[in-house]
Structure formats: C-alpha cells, structure tokens
C-alpha cells in the first residue's frame, strides 16, 4: 500500500504543530498583534518565517514541476476580495481565532471550539458565491460581488 495519499495528513499535522508551537493557537497572541497598545509581534515573526520558506519552495516548484504547480489567474482587486477581507478581519479580531488555530484547538479538545468551528462552517457555506447567485444576491456570470 502506498503512503502517498496520506501526504496531506502529514502536511496538516505539521501545520497544526507549527501553529501550536508558535502559540498562534492562543487568541490573546492574535489580539496582541492587532492591538497597538499592547503589541505582540509573534504573528509578524511567524509570518516572516512562513512566507519566506513558502516563497522558496514555490520558486522551486514552478521551476521543477511546472505541470503540477498551479498558477492562479485571478488578478482583479474586486469588491468581493476587499469586502470579504473586511468581514474576515472583524471576526478575526472579535474572537482572536482564524481557521487554522480553530481546527488545531478543536483537535486539542478545547471546550469553546465546537461552537466556533460550527459557526465558521456555517459562515463558509453562506459565503459561497454560487449560493449568493442562487439567492439573487449576486448576478449570474461575471459578478462584482
């Protein structure tokens, strides 16, 4: 039996360990990053490390595995991107939790996580563009929302 199908599991495990090790699983560390009056630079350092190592692998993947490496084509800065990011940011600041740390904390059995993750899943479902179109909130085809 090949172990290859379990590569995503290993990656998920590594990501959770990285989030836990760096304490990004602690909402007060996130809130500290967003609060200039009690500034905690942990998020910045984790981001610097993550972006630099991912950028390196991304370069390598583009050069050596052009058939595998996806190239996202979407370039436009639209209302959906900016509006969605505003909504996401408000929720991020309100709870001090984003999706990765939420699932990591769920795995660790934190008591608040079932409620938060369930709400987040409902939100992910509600935010889908195909649902907005079905409800008439967004136009068919090329939509601005």
């Amino acid at each position: 039996m090949s172990l290859r199908p379990w590569l995503p599991t290993l990656v998920g495990f590594v990501l959770a360990v990285a989030l836990g090790l760096s304490r990004l699983t602690r909402p007060e560390v996130i809130v500290g990053w967003l609060d200039p009056s009690a500034w905690d630079p942990t998020v910045l350092f984790v981001m610097i490390g993550a972006v630099s190592s991912f950028a390196l692998v991304h370069r390598l993947a583009r050069a050596r595995r052009p058939n595998v490496c996806p190239t996202p084509t979407k370039k436009a800065l639209d209302l959906r991107l900016v509006g969605g990011s505003v909504i996401f940011g408000l929720g991020w600041g309100l709870g001090g939790v984003c999706p990765g740390p939420a699932l990591t904390s769920l795995g660790a059995g934190a008591s608040w996580t079932p409620l938060f993750v369930a709400s987040m899943v409902v939100g992910l479902w509600l935010g889908a563009p195909e649902r907005w179109r079905a409800w008439g909130l967004a136009k068919e085809g090329k939509s601005r929302v």
Partner: protein, 136 residues
C-alpha cells in the same frame, strides 16, 4: 516565545504548505479546504478530509506536548464566539482565503490580491479589537 523560535515555527508552516504545493500541486489554504470538504457536491473531497484529519491530529499532539499553548476556556462569550465564527467563515469564503491561503501561500508567491487581502483583514481586525475590546 523568543522571536527566532516564532520564525522557526513559521518556516515549518511554510515548508509544510510548500510540500503540499510541490508534491500535490495544492494550496494549503485552510478555509478553502474546509469549505470545499463540506460542499454537498464536492469533488476531490478525499485529500481535503485527510488534510483536515492531519490538522486535528496535530492539534491533539499540541494539546499533549504544550498544553498551555491551547486556550481551553475562551475569554469571549458564546454569543461573541458565534458571531466571530460566522464572520470568519463568510469573509474567508468571499475573499477566497484566510491567513494561510492569502497570508502565507498568496503573499509567498507575491500575489497582489493576497497582499491587499492581508492588509485589509489586519486593519479590520485592529478595528474590531479597538471597538470591541480584546482579552477581557
């Protein structure tokens, strides 16, 4: 947490996301993976569920090895948690990504969309903390 430890943990995160890109051609955007995994008509649900299983197992590991790195009782009320979760979910779906997809993978490939997303959600987050208060 020393700053170099935070950078090292970040590099581990980037390397993990990089491995998924290099070997599978997939973006390790956690909100996107979760959203697609729960879509009723999802295709390619398998790898997404296996990825999410890894995150949960990793979380269990963190809870055992560094129990104080997990917050067991949240400072926010249940109502505030529900609103926060809903906003995080809707926003990430609309923006096509969260802190992992835009923040790490998108910024890591120098995507303008992702840089704008990260700047926007950081400012909105700071506003929420400012208005609603942080750790109380």
């Amino acid at each position: 947490m020393s700053w170099w430890m935070a950078i090292a943990a970040g590099m581990l995160f980037g390397a993990g996301s990089g491995a998924l890109l290099y070997f599978e051609g997939r973006i390790a955007g956690i909100s996107g993976v979760l959203a697609q995994a729960v879509e009723p008509e999802a295709t390619e649900r398998g790898w997404r569920l296996r990825f999410l299983l890894g995150l949960l197992l990793g979380g269990a590991f963190v809870g055992l090895v560094w129990p104080d790195h997990i917050l067991h009782t949240h400072f926010a009320s249940p109502g505030r948690l529900v609103v926060a979760g809903l906003l995080v979910g809707v926003g990430a779906r609309l923006a096509n990504g969260c802190t992992s997809g835009h923040g790490v993978c998108g910024v890591g490939r120098f995507s303008l969309r992702s840089v704008v997303a990260v700047g926007t959600f950081t400012l909105a987050g700071a506003l929420a903390v400012r208005v609603m208060g942080g750790v109380s």
